[in-house]
Amino acid sequence: MYFELAKRNLMRTKMRSVLAIIGIVIGVMAISSIGIFGEGLKLSVLENFQDVANEIIVTPSFSAGYMSIDRATVSKIEKLPYLSLVTPLKNKQALVETESKRMYLLVYGIDQNAVDELFEIEEGSAKLRGSCVVGNNLAERLKLRAGSKIVVDGKEMRVSGILKEEGARFDINPNKAIFISENDFKEIFGESGYSMIIVKVAKLEDIERFKDSVDKLINLRGEKIKVFEMRTIIERITEAFAQINLFLIAIAGISLLVAGVSILNIMLMSTLERTKEIGVMRAVGASRQTILRIFLYEALILGIIGSITGGFLSIFGGYLIEMAILQSAKYLFTTATIVSILEGIFFGLITAVLSGLYPAFKASKLEPIEALRYE
């Protein structure tokens, strides 16, 4: 019956109640929509990195005085049974000349299988022997096509293929590189150690296993190589997005704060207007707790209606923002969206109840005789 009383009290001042609810709706929508968008943004960025979660980059330990990785170390790594890919790479800055241009570029010496494994060809073929494969941006810049001739550190080579343009990568940037066979690399630049090894594990659990193996087999008597997990980057990106998202949500939370102040105002007005009524209720036997309850229920009803409506509408809000910024709403229907909506609803409810607390408390503290005298 107290709920019923609260409901009828809110109906008495319909416009006021509706305006308070709208405030909560906007606040909840802001929080949930931004939460949904933030999650979508993170997933959109991480999509590029999903396939490299199981990748580990091995580099020489420069700080320990190692400039390259020797063949023996590479062999030890290649012998580990739980690795799905081991790609040792050599690289060097070299003078590259075309018909019209000459510039210093990064030239990679790589195994044929590795090219097929790591990259995608856009034009021509990935054949390395006697030829080279050129990155997309570089090819555009130097106006190269499959079949073009270039000179790499004095050696004439034919371009066998152009790679597809790739998004950001942390292991190697193929867009601006030239890839040649290991033999050609040796022929041009002479004997040298490896500058990095790209390693992939079959299962993510094996990453720790690999680090253990490196400590026991290679770095036992000093750090020869450094091991860098790509998933650390994913974790860092996820952390960064979480922080950014939290910040954005906090900003959105300001609108909910405003809604809360509006509820506080409305309920204080209500308390004042109903002073006499409160006095009557106290006179006929309502305790302070009863009065508190009735007023809190009023705040709760406003909160429930506003929060649920806002939560529901935030799906549209999230959809609009994702379409506007990501041009895709494929991340909309995920668990994270439901969580964002629930979070928004939760904060909406809390705001409503907390805002109603002071007016409810004030109403309950009224002395019956003073309240009855109020005109």
């Binding site: 019956m1 107290y2 009828r8 109906m11 009524e277 209720m281 006179a283 006929v284 036997g285 302070r288």
Partner: protein, 222 residues
């Protein structure tokens, strides 16, 4: 003795002045009595009624209801006393406008925690006593002054109080409605032994009571 006042003072400080709303009032009311407290405006009659009804606390002196010293009760206990022992009838009816007549009568029972079925039944019975069972679903704004006051009487009787306190119960009513209301109150007193203490400035209303108490300037003069 159902109500006893022992040397009760109610003093208000107004600037540097003290105003004695009640100036050493002592009185006793027996169970089943009907008393009219009469006095001019500002005499302290309403203050006296509020004191008996535990709506206000004395500055000095004691108010005993059913032998209990009300100054020793906390807010919760006073509320309970009001709820279970005392019924209030106000000059301006003071019904809750968002509730129907039936629901208004149910209100004290709701506060007492009476079950829905029980309280609906009793509320309907009470409305029947005051002759308003046909209007039970109407809101106060749809009732006349006399009808509203009758609903207020029914409400005051909800928890079977032993004492009914009436502050100018006919003050806002026409003569005929006033008579109807006073008849109901008289019947309650005579047939059910409800103690009635009413405050009035109208001698015609005071006639209904068995005893009259006159008050002036915060002091009982009769």
């Amino acid at each position: 003795m159902i109500v006893k006042l022992e040397n009760v003072y109610k003093i208000y400080i107004s600037g540097s002045e003290k105003v004695y709303a009640l100036n050493g009032v002592s009185m006793e009311v027996e169970k089943g009595e009907s008393i009219a407290i009469m006095g001019p405006s500002g005499s302290g009659k309403s203050t006296l009624l509020n004191m008996i009804g535990c709506l206000d606390r004395p500055t000095e002196g004691k108010v005993l209801v059913k032998g209990v010293d009300t100054s020793e009760l906390n807010d919760g206990e006073l509320t309970k006393l009001r709820r279970d022992t005392i019924g209030f009838i106000f000059q301006h009816y003071n019904l809750i406008t968002t509730l129907s007549a039936l629901e208004n009568v149910e209100l004290p029972m709701i506060f007492k925690g009476v079950s829905r079925h029980e309280r609906e039944k009793r509320a309907m019975e009470l409305l029947k006593i005051v002759g308003l069972e046909q209007q039970m679903n109407r809101r106060p704004t749809e009732l006349s002054g006399g009808q509203q006051q009758r609903v207020a009487i029914a409400r005051a009787l909800a928890n079977n109080p032993e004492i009914l306190l009436c502050d100018e119960p006919t003050g806002n009513l026409d003569t005929k409605s006033g008579e109807v209301v006073m008849d109901i109150l008289t019947r309650l007193n005579r047939e059910q032994g409800v103690t009635i203490i009413l405050v009035t400035h109208d001698p015609a209303v005071a006639e209904y009571a068995q005893r009259m108490v006159r008050i002036r300037d915060g002091t009982i003069i009769d």
